[in-house]
Structures are given as C-alpha cells and as structure tokens.
C-alpha cells in the first residue's frame, strides 16, 4: 500500500508515436484510480510504465517515496491483472498463483498458506489443481486476481481485466473487484474503456484522450461537471446531447431559438458567441402543459422497458431524450422541454473546453 505519483510522464515509442504526452496524477494510498478513454488514447501505455513493462521516456513515476523509473518490474512490488489474464497455461491454478512467491524464494508452507487463503477469498479452492484451460472465463479472471493478491503488493494494476467476459459476468466481477480492493486496501490503477466500469469502480477517475488527461476527479464530479466536450460525451449513456448555441446576456444561452439559463456559464462571454451546449438525455424534462420550453420534434421512440428513448431534433441538432416509459402518449410528434440551469453545460466551440463561471476555482477542485 503506497501513494503512486506520476510526474509529467511521457512515452515516445521507438517508431516515434508519442503515446503519452506528459501526464501527472497522484493516487492516494489505498485509492482506486480508473483510467478511461477511447481506444488508443494511451491508457495501457501509462499503466505499463507504472508496471515497468515500458521504459519511461521522460518524467517520473514514484511508488511510495521511491522513484521507480529504473527499477525492474519484479522489484516494484506491484501486481498486474491482464486483459487476457496471462495465466501460465501449462501450470495448475495453484502453481499459477504460487509462481510469484516461488520466484521470491518464499518458504513452502508460507506459500501454501497464502495460496489457500487467496483461493478461499476468491472461491476458487475447488479448481486449484486444474489447468487454466479447464476453467470458465470468470474462473480464469479469479485466478488472475488470485495471482495478484497472493503477493500482497503495494499496488494493483488492472488492464481491462473484465473485457473478455460476457455482460452478466462483467457486472458480477466488477462488484467483486470493488469489494476486494476495499477489503485489502491496496492502491489500485485500473484501465478500461467501459464508462460504466469507470464510474462504478473509481474513487479517482482519469479521463484520457490522445495521450493527455482530459479531466481528473471523482466520478460524480466528472459526470456533473465535465471539463471538456469530449468528457461530456464520453461519460454518460446515452451520451450527452450537444447542440449549437449562442451566448446571450445574463448567463443565458440560446439553443434552437429558445433561451436557456446556464448556471455555470462564464459571465464574461461576448453575447453572440457561438458555443456548444450540452444537455444530458435524462436531464431534460417534458414541460408541463402550457409551460414554455425548447421545441423537441420527435422522430421515433425506442422502448427500453422502464424508460424509453425519444429520438428527434431541437432546431437543427439531433437530440435524444430519456424518459420513463409512457411519459409521452403514443404518436406524439412534438413536446416542449425545460432544462434546469445547472444541467446546461456550455463548451467553447473551438477548444471544446468548458466555459465555466469560476475557472480558477474549478480547476483547483479537480
């Protein structure tokens, strides 16, 4: 258990690809940090630099107070769970779990004790003598976890550990990983591109894109107050609607001909400035009859059971609205929407940065 600190870490691959472009993150002792972002954004690269599987082109990675840039993976006191589990196919489950301890010349009975304990925690005792190929996906995942926890490392690293599982198992294992990490209190870094995993697992959520950090914060912060348009559309499902808008005066913005109050919008913007306005599908509400609102033309409806998605347009922009099933009578072609001022997110059209009221304070909070 240790603090992990990344200071301006960069990675340029031999071919010249700059995969990570200067990333600084601190992860508190026992913290659960999730790196999320689209494919190719450098998540794995970053994680592998922490593991010592890639050299660090510049910057510093520290585990506890030790800068580990030049330390072998084996000496970093970390454990890693791979996407494909990387179980040794020719060894039994027991040997897979024991391997790291054996390499470290741990006494035999100590190894046995610890393997048995890990197996008990993960409920894989019945399979200890099997080879990995005789296990189901979920069981293999557990063995990979076992291999990590048996070593009692300072840091757990996970690289998309659940993406080879089917949907149901994924949900179940997600919950188990969270519980286990809580129980063991080991600092963890977890890479995923699944935003549900990212939201549910993290204490500290790091959204990356193109080798850079877009935003760091708690999941709620990131969801409620996305710093960039990218984060806004990446986190949340269905994704946040982005509509073209124009700044008015008084912290209002005009969208599809309708004026909306935007609680967090910077007050010093030039009226008439073209901006992007983000509204989450579940945060717009159908106006009570007679109340004015944005005109939302409904194209068609997708039922999801408890809720339904109304696909349509506001002004020129496509818009999706998520409402409880039956909120709108069948065949309705148009409704008016009201949106609470703190649910209106305004982004610079060019840079995609959030146009926040108090930029200085906001960035300090993250």
């Amino acid at each position: 258990m240790a603090v992990v600190t990344l200071k301006d870490v960069r990675k340029v691959y031999a071919g010249g690809v700059e995969a990570v472009k200067g990333v600084s993150i601190d992860i508190p002792d026992g913290g659960f940090c999730v790196l999320v972002g689209p494919s190719g954004c450098g998540k794995s690269t970053l994680l592998r630099m922490v593991a010592g599987l890639e050299t660090i082109s510049s910057g510093e990675v520290a585990i506890g107070d030790r800068v580990v840039n030049d330390i072998e993976p084996a000496e970093r006191d970390i454990a890693m769970v791979f996407q494909n589990y990387a179980l040794y196919p020719h060894m039994s489950v027991y040997d897979n779990i024991a391997y790291g301890l054996r390499n470290r010349k741990t006494p035999k009975d100590e190894i046995d004790r610890r393997v048995q304990e890990a197996a008990r925690i993960l409920a894989i005792e019945p399979f200890l003598q099997r080879k990995p190929r005789a296990l189901s996906g979920g069981q293999r995942q557990r063995v990979a976890m076992g291999r990590a926890i048996v070593r009692k490392p300072q840091v757990f690293l996970f690289d998309e550990p659940l993406s080879n599982l089917d949907a149901k198992l994924r949900v179940q294992m997600r919950v188990e990983i969270k519980k286990l990490q809580r129980a063991l209190g080991v600092t963890s870094i977890y890479v995923t591109h699944d935003q549900v995993e990212a939201m549910t697992l993290s204490d500290k959520l790091v959204v990356m894109s193109g080798g850079q950090v877009e935003q760091v914060g708690t999941p709620t912060e990131v969801y409620r107050r996305p710093e960039t348009r990218f984060v806004a559309t990446f986190i949340g499902s269905p994704p946040m609607n982005i509509l073209p808008g124009v700044v008015e005066t008084d912290g209002r913005v005009s969208v599809g001909g309708q004026s909306l109050a935007a609680a967090d919008m910077a007050t010093d913007l030039k009226p008439g400035l073209a901006v992007d306005v983000g509204i989450r599908p579940e945060e717009a509400e159908i106006a009570a009859p007679g109340v004015a609102g944005c005109a939302f033309a409904i194209d068609f409806v997708e039922e999801l059971g408890a809720t339904e998605l109304l696909h349509g347009t506001i002004g020129e922009g496509a818009f999706v609205l998520q409402v409880p099933t039956g909120s709108v009578p069948n065949g309705t072609k148009q409704v008016a929407l009201t949106i609470a001022p703190n649910c209106v997110h305004v982004f610079d059209r060019e840079t995609g940065k959030r146009l926040s009221r108090r930029p200085a304070e906001a960035s300090k909070a993250a």
Binding site: A51, G52, L53, E72, P73, A74, I78, A79, M80, F82, Q83, N84, A86, Y88, P89, H90, M91, Y99, G100, N103, R104, R133, R147, R151
Partner: protein, 293 residues
C-alpha cells in the same frame, strides 16, 4: 471440427475425390499391399522363381544381429540429429525472437538450407570433410585428429549427422521462431512482474510453452532422419563403413537393391510402415490435443 453447412450432392463429391483416391490407391495402397505380400515370400533376384514362406522373412529379420544394429544406428542417428538440430535452432530462434530489429534479416539468412536437397547437402559436407582433399578434413588431420570417415564408423556417422542436422536447422528454426512469437507477450510480462529472471522465465514459461512445438519437431525430425536422409547417406557413406551408417531405410534399399533379398527387404518395409504409421498416429493425436493449448 465439422462444417455446419454442407452440400448434399450425391455424385459430385466422389468425382472430386476420385483423382486423389485413384492415385493413392494405385501408387500407395497397391504397392504397400504388394510389399506385404512380398514379405511373405522369397524370390530370386530376377523374380523368376518365388516361394511362399509365411513369416520366415520376419523370423530371419529379427534373428539378424545386423538388423538390430541398424535399428541402433538409426536411433543414435535420429537422436543425435534431432537434439543437435533442435538445440542449435532453438538457440538461434530465441536470439532472433529477441531481435526486433534485424529479426527478419536473420530469418532470411537462416532459412535457405531448407531448399538444399539432402543428397546435395551430403555432397557439400563430403567435400569439406573428405580426409584427403576436404578443407576441414585435412585441417583435422593436420591438427592431429586421426580423421577417417572412410574407415572409422564413428567418424562417418558423425559426418552424416552433421550434414543431416545442418539441413534441418532452417526448418526447426522457423517453427521455433513461430512458436516463440505465438507466446503471448503478456505471459512473459506477467512472469517478469512475478519476479522471474530471464533464465528462469525461459525455463519455467517459454520452454514449457514451446513444448507443443518441440514435440511436433521431435516427431518431424525423427521422420526426417528416417527417410529424408537417404540421399545424404548415399552421397557420403553408402551406409558404410562396416554398416556404421546404415539406417533402416538404407538397409531396405541395400538389401533389396540387388534383388538378393526382396522378401527380406519387403519385410523391413512393412516394419517401417508400421513404425511410421505409429508415429503419425501419435503426432495426429498430439496435434488434435494441441489445439486446446
């Protein structure tokens, strides 16, 4: 594994199979059955008079010391070539696998001996090791080694082994390299994180992971030594001196060669066929099993 969706035409599949089946029957099964038939008879060289003798040829064969010697030679030869060629190519493959840059250049420089005919390989090695004019042969003698493959069976066997192993390096190298490259990198990484040093990683992870390839190559190399080295032996030693390099296949050829003992030669063929079929079966089972690895 079977196709889920197939055609059900009645005649077409037989037509498609016919050419191969006909050729197989005519040039494989018929001669093979002839070999079996011949192994129960004795015959003069010209095939003018023959006599059915039951298992006599087999009895004679297994009563011959030279047959066991030939088996022993074959065994030593196979093992030596296999071990030599496999360990050398494994070493090269491991090194080439490490070399991300230049890897393919080395591959190019190492694969071409595969294309050299065994008989020619034999000629090349004979040319080097011939005691009176070969560059290395003379060198050895000059260095005080009483090198004489013409008379010394061990020398002859060694020479044949070297030539045969040389020819087999490319093949083994390619398979080992492919095998190494198919080991998921994450396994090596996991082992590194698990604290295994390079040598330990090799012996506890890489080598066991290569075992399907290794086993496969073992069988292939043995079969290679059994049959494809005929040309090498014929070019270098003709099975001599004093039968020191007479493998089972060479014996089939030399015993049957002058028609002196076609029946006995046929009996040997039959024994060989049984051996090869057994090897094939082992390999096939293994190939099937390997898929799950």
């Amino acid at each position: 594994m079977e196709k889920r969706s197939v055609y059900t035409n009645k005649l077409l599949p037989y037509l498609l199979l016919a050419p191969q089946l006909v050729i197989t029957l005519v040039f494989f099964y018929w001669p093979a059955s002839q070999a079996v038939w011949m192994s129960f008879r004795i015959e003069d060289a010209f095939g003018i008079s023959t006599e059915f003798v039951g298992f006599e040829n087999y009895v004679t064969l297994f009563g011959q010391r030279s047959y066991y010697e030939s088996m022993w030679t074959t065994l030593v030869f196979s093992l030596a070539v296999t071990i030599l060629a496999m360990s050398f190519s494994l070493l090269l493959a491991v090194m080439a696998d490490k070399q991300i840059r230049g890897g393919s250049v080395y591959r190019t420089l190492l694969i071409w001996p595969y294309a050299v005919a065994p008989a020619i390989a034999g000629v090349l090695w004979l040319f080097m090791f011939q005691p009176s004019l070969g560059m290395i042969g003379r060198g050895l003698i000059a260095a005080g080694v009483p090198w004489n493959p013409m008379l010394n069976g061990d020398h002859a066997l060694l020479l044949v082994i070297l030539a045969a192993a040389w020819k087999q390096i490319s093949y083994n190298f390619l398979f080992f390299l492919a095998g190494l490259q198919s080991i998921p990198k994450s396994l090596i990484e996991a082992a590194a994180i698990d604290g295994a040093k390079p040598a330990r990683r090799f012996w506890t992870i890489i080598f066991p992971m290569l075992s399907p390839t290794t086993f496969f190559l073992l069988v292939v190399n043995i079969v290679y030594v059994f049959f494809d080295t005929f040309g090498i032996i014929d070019a270098i030693t003709h099975g001599g001196p004093a039968k020191a390099t007479e493998t089972l296949v060479f014996k089939v050829y030399s015993d049957g060669r002058l028609g002196g003992d076609l029946g006995g030669s046929a009996a040997q063929s039959v024994v060989l066929m049984v051996i090869v079929i057994a090897l094939t079966a082992i390999q096939f089972r293994y190939v099937e099993r390997k898929v799950t690895y």
